[in-house]
Amino acid sequence: MTGQEVVFLVLAVVGGLAGLLVVTSRNIVHAALYLVVALSSVAGVYLLLAAPFVAFVQVIIYVGAIVVLILFGIMLTRAPVGRRVLDNTLRARVGAFVVGLGMFTMLTWFMADAWSGERIAGQAVTTTAALGTSLFRNYVLPFEAVSVLLLAALIGAIVLARRD
């Protein structure tokens, strides 16, 4: 087992546990902070997969912006605490657990069936220049579409949230 695999397993265990705590924590602020841990470990996984630019974008946008936005949302909706207000009924939770476990089993089974012997090996680190070249040469039309989407979302959020 290489050092890369050891680091990946540590990151995966930390990120998986944090992900579980996000969806089971009784305190909504704790859940948001566990989300920071889960998203940071995903950023570490990107670094291990030789994608440093995506990792930094993950840290800046997810950890820096989206979690702060969610914390503001929690604050503005008066941060309810406790299982009764945060979670669904026991019946719905059991159903959700069955669906989640079934989905994990199914996905793992199919992927182990399809790619069990394959290895990610010898990948060169993606430079930001190469990624930018690909983005602005091959994917410039989707890039423009995403920028228009962001503008529409910005205007929509302002229109929705402002007080008349």
């Binding site: 290489t2 695999e5 990946f8 995966a12 990120g15 992900g19 996000v22 969806v23 989300l35 998203l39 995903v42 996984v45 990107y46 997969l49 030789a50 994608a51 995506v54 993950q58 946008i61 997810y62 989206i66 936005l69 969610i70 503001f72 949302g73 929690i74 909706t77 309810p80 207000v85 945060l86 979670d87 669904n88 159903g95 959700a96 669906v99 989640g100 476990l101 989905m103 994990f104 996905l107 793992t108 992927m111 790619w115 394959e118 990610i120 010898g122 993606t126 990624l131 690909s134 983005l135 995403v146 989407l149 962001l150 529409a152 979302a153 910005l154 929509g156 959020a157 929705l160 949230a161």
Partner: protein
Amino acid sequence: MPLLYPLVFAAFLFSAGVYGVLARRNAVMVLMSIELMLNAVNVNLVAFNAYLKDQLLSGQVFALFVVAVAAAEVGIGLAIVLLIFRNRETVNIDEVDLLRW
């Protein structure tokens, strides 16, 4: 590194997100679970990009697009949640059933 490692990690995060969307009743918690699911998809995209050694870097480019769409989604989602809270004094999604037949 075996390709299965990131794939199973992503499957676990996605399933945790599915559980969260179905088991939570607070709208902000549902948004957080959706973020988990989008991250799982991104892990898959970057892992397959590294596995296939794609010359166009499609996996990483689309991971960036997914991040941008996630930012837009959470902005709009929180604006809607705030509007619901302002009008109905609650963010429990099972109490917002105006369109239910």
